[in-house]
Symmetry: D3
Amino acid sequence: MSSNAKKTITVVSAHSADFIWRCGGAIALYHDLGYQVRVLCLSYGERGESARLWKQGKTLDEIKTVRRSEAEEAAEILGAQVRFFDAGDYPFHPTKELQDAVVNEFREHQPELILTHSIEDPYNFDHQRTTQFALECRVLAQAEGYESEHGILGAPSVFLFEPHQPEQCNFKVDVLLDITSVFDRKRKAMECMNAQEHLWEYYSELAKRRGVQAGRNSGSAISLTGNKIKYAEAYQRVFPHVGGLFV
Amino acid sequence: MSSNAKKTITVVSAHSADFIWRCGGAIALYHDLGYQVRVLCLSYGERGESARLWKQGKTLDEIKTVRRSEAEEAAEILGAQVRFFDAGDYPFHPTKELQDAVVNEFREHQPELILTHSIEDPYNFDHQRTTQFALECRVLAQAEGYESEHGILGAPSVFLFEPHQPEQCNFKVDVLLDITSVFDRKRKAMECMNAQEHLWEYYSELAKRRGVQAGRNSGSAISLTGNKIKYAEAYQRVFPHVGGLFV
Amino acid sequence: MSSNAKKTITVVSAHSADFIWRCGGAIALYHDLGYQVRVLCLSYGERGESARLWKQGKTLDEIKTVRRSEAEEAAEILGAQVRFFDAGDYPFHPTKELQDAVVNEFREHQPELILTHSIEDPYNFDHQRTTQFALECRVLAQAEGYESEHGILGAPSVFLFEPHQPEQCNFKVDVLLDITSVFDRKRKAMECMNAQEHLWEYYSELAKRRGVQAGRNSGSAISLTGNKIKYAEAYQRVFPHVGGLFV
Amino acid sequence: MSSNAKKTITVVSAHSADFIWRCGGAIALYHDLGYQVRVLCLSYGERGESARLWKQGKTLDEIKTVRRSEAEEAAEILGAQVRFFDAGDYPFHPTKELQDAVVNEFREHQPELILTHSIEDPYNFDHQRTTQFALECRVLAQAEGYESEHGILGAPSVFLFEPHQPEQCNFKVDVLLDITSVFDRKRKAMECMNAQEHLWEYYSELAKRRGVQAGRNSGSAISLTGNKIKYAEAYQRVFPHVGGLFV
Amino acid sequence: MSSNAKKTITVVSAHSADFIWRCGGAIALYHDLGYQVRVLCLSYGERGESARLWKQGKTLDEIKTVRRSEAEEAAEILGAQVRFFDAGDYPFHPTKELQDAVVNEFREHQPELILTHSIEDPYNFDHQRTTQFALECRVLAQAEGYESEHGILGAPSVFLFEPHQPEQCNFKVDVLLDITSVFDRKRKAMECMNAQEHLWEYYSELAKRRGVQAGRNSGSAISLTGNKIKYAEAYQRVFPHVGGLFV
Amino acid sequence: MSSNAKKTITVVSAHSADFIWRCGGAIALYHDLGYQVRVLCLSYGERGESARLWKQGKTLDEIKTVRRSEAEEAAEILGAQVRFFDAGDYPFHPTKELQDAVVNEFREHQPELILTHSIEDPYNFDHQRTTQFALECRVLAQAEGYESEHGILGAPSVFLFEPHQPEQCNFKVDVLLDITSVFDRKRKAMECMNAQEHLWEYYSELAKRRGVQAGRNSGSAISLTGNKIKYAEAYQRVFPHVGGLFV
């Protein structure tokens, strides 16, 4: 465990804005619970997710700068620490150096939870390669024989956030996370992405839709007394839950 | 909610012994948490699960009596209230009367959780038909228009317990429930089934195996300080978890 | 073919409002293309989908009357002929008489397309049973040996409309139907359901969301010149498309 | 769009003969519809699909020459332009250079449709790697930030052609393409492959079998008046169909 | 075991001709190995599979007579004993009486193997209902408590034969049975179905296609010395193989 | 075929101990049947599977030496020839040199069967990468055009052995191999792994559990006369079985 006494959750994000749309609510929620939230942006999404900036005639370096700055602003609103690896996108191919860096990051901060992309995404191969990479770094970080200055990782749970077109990605909803209390901050974080107003609306509506479903799937106490969940985010679980209660 | 102020979990069991082998740990655990645990035995398993008694030349009525008595003894050890419907087995085909009875049972006791069999079981069609029946009764109990003296049901979670041959039943493990603290009572309950010593051992070993896996899937605190989980039961979740935490 | 020279599409709807939320756009679209659109409401949804009316203290017969009247009004806006079978809901169990009636309906009107519910729906067993029933009636209607005054049915395509929680129903999106030109009428039809304002919004937002996805999945001509699709409905195909073009 | 005003479809073929057996009918059909058909042969199949030539003692270069010449002859019969990348087979591993070349090819010709192999093929890993590669090049070609002299690609549909053993490859049939009008030319193209007479027969019979199934799955007009489809090819769709009709 | 000392395999066929097209080779093969082969025709396929006879104006009884006679002739050629249950088709719905009869049949003859239809068949619901029924009768026949004059059944393997459109039925090929030595008799048996010449050819070609695949999947001895398998039938296994060898 | 006249089976093992826990019984069984059994250890498992040795402060080379020696001892007990490739683990990434070596190994020894890991393993990516690699080497070894001093490989069957958490790996049980006659030697081989007593027990219990299931799935002769199978190993089949019998 790092000298930092706080518990940690870690988000592994292919491009610098993914963490906002897909798990901004979870980040704010865990920040409010007192967790340290680490966001690892493997790339800036400079080639694949910056169409507007390319059309404005910006250079690659300028685009990275803009993307980084927007992500930092959003992270601050959500309460996350963001770390940029600048590993390139479209396509993203992890190197041995990146693997070492992420394994060490996991070991140093000992996340209790890891959030990342879906297993499949035929619209964005960087996403599925990031998931594969994050899962493998987690396993490597558990091995005594993997060289590192930090002690081995335990067995953090992994949750996959919702892709843009869930049915095409064989995404299954295992958790509907109630983000009603922090939705305002998620909305503000989304609004840091200046040129993407259509996505602010799209992901606000998705949060509402998942909120309605959360109401429909939740326990008797809530549905008998009136459902208070307005906004939710959907996640898929990778490993079984272990505990002394059904949750 | 019934006049009984306790919270409830309900087990829907095709035959009178299924609840012991498959979720005896969960029953004892929730009893200890202060829950009322209702076990609904749709049949005694008099035809399909009583080979020994038939070989002894017992009549159908004698067999039902023995099966009932064993189940009651086991339920007492685990802390459950058991209700028998005597709806017949091999094959089990639910009637309108049984449906009304189970819908009313759900409405009266308002379970927070329902435990039942797997979606598929090519070794035992009563099991999969029971699952289908329990899921449908849950939906019917939610409808204002279904006639009943009790108020409608909320949206209890449903967990499926592990079948005898999980891979053949497309069973997925979503939860590994730590039953270490109550395993002794599960063992004693199993031992009420006098003629099935081989199953005592089989299900004790399964609990150990699931316990080892629980250790391997659990969070850093546990795996860093030494795994304390010795026994577990495996469950599959039917509906998404809704809540304010990843669990 | 019936004396009516128009081509036909037929919707098989478990409850009397399903056709509005789930395929109202398709109905209006095919009406505008000159098709006769037949909507078969197997029940009024009197028990399972009329919570508000039960809470108002209405009787079963009153509820059926209200539900029928709302459905007729919506059908008129969309341009559909609606036929009620009053076969009961929650649970829906088809009888031999209903089977004969639906087989004869198919044979008389010779639909080119059949629209119905999803294969699975753990929130509503009437839905999945309706799908199974519609698919079987289609097969029976194709058999020379099935008694009927009408000639046999060809091999109409079958499309499944989107359930409330698509991922839980293993629903796959094979078609995104552009309903932009008729969305206003779908909205009006939805508004016939007086007491369900929250669903007007929910399904309007869903149509927008599917519209955005339609844009993202459509061919180069559209995406190069600016996407005009605003609203869409999602469908799953049951049988392979046959033809001389990839579509 | 290229200066060529014709619309384009593009086939991505792992080895130089795959396009003949698997989508020769589609090629001829689209040629007749006035399309430009581009066939990209990533390798000649010189190692993995040329057993006869190796047994004759030919060198690697001689084998490539023979395979190229046969493919050119077949392409001419079908009406396709064939482009060879000589990227090596058994195993096929795409390089950055090949990726650039295929992305640029897609951008220059702006295909409306892309045809390629199945997602899985445990008998031929080059096939599944080609599919993955073609899908990723399509995504990269859509990105403003990917360097290229040509404008970005839209969102062409992708269809997967039938592998040798479809059930082992989890291949699903979404489209049965009627190739009756061009089957003679597909047969002639197959006969360019001199040493593989057994495959001429095998794929002719497959086309007949798929033709019979096409008849059984097609609309009432056809099945009422006598089925005219004799030959078909089977395809799996990757992305949803978008349009104003169910097709 | 019946007084008949021969080992038995049993085919459960929904309609009276299914056993010929789908497992005629297996029947002849096991007959030649000295097995008693029991074919259980649950119906004559009088409504669903006798289009030609209905068009000729025959009555229901006449059609049953023709279908029975054709099936008997084919069974004799293949070496099977055929038993007719006349339980009705289109739709097939098993009764308690039919269940008793089939359970007793299984117990009396103690089959080592059971062959039946696929798990799913959206073109023919009788087929999938027959599979479900056969699997359940097998389980019931294993139960001491199921009333019968015969002793309980062991655990015979179950193999599913290939449906008309395997990919639409999620059929998986686990076994390719070499029927080269008996194919002539399968062809003769098929030719007993006078009015269905197109199917003779269709299923002969299918046998060839499966034969080619058998060659491609078989062991080194065969493929090194030249493939001798010309005809095969495909089957899916339901339960694991148990034995002392990988086979 | 190699000069060695014995028939061969080959195990492809990611780490040096996998072959003991997962298919030690199969190895001993085939040894007793007169087969040459080749075990290919791609790595020693020096980083990922040697926690105890790292904790003792051993160097990488020392760990490899210990692991090699333990594996050799176990192989001798089981009757296998073990070959070490020292290709590295955690992560395992195959090189062209390794590929050439394994292709040549397959060609020289012409295995009738290949045993390897499961298709998926989210707990151990080396395992699934080994499976992919073994399957691809098998295909490459079948190609005339792949350079090698040995003749091409036939089409050996491939069986996947059971992973640690089968349900998480989508492992399906197709074969339950009766290892009762050789279980003592499997146990002794496991005991060569000095520091892993907990795994001796875990895999002994697994063998018993699979043995019980084998009894439940095996033919009538066995279950009528008393089940003699005590220990079994579970395997998944990759390619269809080809033969003249259902097995």
